[in-house]
Amino acid sequence: MLQTGLTHILSEKDFQETLKNNDNVMVCCGRMGPMCIPVYGVMEELESEYTHVAFRDMEFDGPIGHLIRNLPECRNFRGLPFTVYFRDGKVVSATSSIQNRDQVTQILDAEFATKAVTK
């Protein structure tokens, strides 16, 4: 299991329910590696600010990693983590490799229009 402060997606049922029950979902699929940890850190920081987005992580090598790995949007990806943004259950953006806070928020703001009031 990933050692992060995020909610983990552990099963296909978890994954489907997350997409079904949340309009806006960001899933970071990776390992506890150098390129992935900074993205988990950014997501943890943003959770309280973007309350209209469900932030989740998923093990890249786990039994359900294929749900992200095999998405058409990720077919050219060759760098961890694979980060995928879903709106109404559909992929609206996906990135490969390390991303900083600005890169993540740029996508969140563009794809998930309603932004919560900051603290």
Binding site: G41, N76, G79, N100
Partner: protein, 322 residues
């Protein structure tokens, strides 16, 4: 704008900044640690650390997490993934503006801003990051099983990672800008002995191209100026580090490499401002040396505060959020 005052503000939360925070907070100094990225700095980029005295083996992430927890336990306030938008370090009271909407003040500041991997800065690099261009062999090596790849660089990281990537790749070509390597002799020997590795010297990558993923690079010979196109599946870049000091340019003394100039006690050119870790001008950059720097900077900052009891801003200076 929100405002808050501390005894010391530490900018940076790698081993140097966290160590400074541990020493300061343990001495009951009100300490704020600000970090633009993830806590731990470049330490989290290391899979295994086996030369940190007292710990046989630990991952960079775990070591950084222990340091962070220690700093918090002693009372440090840590703010990560913020953006430092303004630094006023010249007066008796220094101020650091964060995200353009908060301002923190203190009579002493420790700069432990660290460094980051150097990028080539050539066309196509940003576009194909994660789609053929990587900066981490242990993270992404397995995407290049039986592929032809290039490693750029000639230091220890480049040659050691080139050897480790031969576990996956069909061939590894090392492209290096000089006619000799900077790596240790054993690393050079290991790379030269590996039958999967070949070398293109006095050359650099001039451009990356492809459609959805990296397909081609332009290799430029730095002696003749000639460029050649080469079909390639992946490129790993290991060309050293640059200090995170762009925001300090013009504020205090930096050397030509952009590193912070410091005294043996880590004073900078400004009174009450100290620097520690990979962003200072020094020869060796290790976790152990960063930790030592953090200790010295914290002790020196406390000495400064004892000698220069500076009154803290009073409440009337505190602005309220509009």
């Amino acid at each position: 704008m929100n405002s808050d005052s501390y005894d010391v503000i530490v900018v940076g939360a790698g081993p140097a900044g966290l160590t400074a925070g541990i020493y300061l907070a343990r001495a009951k100094m009100r300490t704020l640690i600000l970090n633009e990225g993830t806590v731990g700095g470049q330490t989290v980029l290391t899979h295994e650390i086996a030369n940190y005295p007292g710990i046989e083996s630990i991952s960079g992430y775990q070591l950084a997490t222990v340091m962070k927890n220690q700093a918090k336990k002693f009372g440090c306030t840590i703010r990560a993934n913020i953006s430092v938008t303004r630094l006023d370090l010249a007066g008796d009271i220094k101020s650091v503006e964060v995200n353009g909407r908060e301002r923190f003040t203190a009579p002493a500041v420790i700069l432990a801003t660290g460094g980051r991997s150097r990028t080539l800065g050539v066309p196509g690099e940003e576009k194909f990051k994660g789609k053929g261009i990587s900066y981490c062999a242990t993270c992404d090596g397995d995407f290049f099983q039986d592929k032809d790849i290039i490693v750029v660089g000639g230091g220890n990281s480049a040659l050691e990672e080139a050897v480790s990537l031969t576990k996956y790749a069909r061939s590894v070509t090392v492209v290096h800008q000089f006619d000799h390597f900077q790596a240790f002799a054993h690393a050079i020997e290991d790379a030269k002995r590996n039958p999967k590795i070949s070398f293109v010297m006095e050359s650099t990558i001039a451009e990356f191209s492809g459609t959805d993923a990296l397909e081609m690079v332009k290799i430029k010979n730095l002696v003749t100026g000639e460029t050649t196109d080469r079909k390639i599946d992946g490129v790993f870049v290991f060309i050293g580090y640059v200090p995170n000091t762009e925001k300090l340019d013009g504020i205090l003394d930096l050397n030509k490499a952009g590193e912070i100039m410091v005294s043996p006690l880590l004073d900078t050119s400004l009174p009450g401002v100290y620097a520690a870790g990979d962003s200072i001008a020094k020869r060796y950059r290790q976790i152990t040396t960063a930790v030592a720097d953090g200790t010295v900077a914290a002790l020196n900052a406390m000495e400064y505060l004892r000698k220069n009891a500076v009154p803290q801003p009073t409440e009337e200076l505190v602005e309220t959020e509009s």
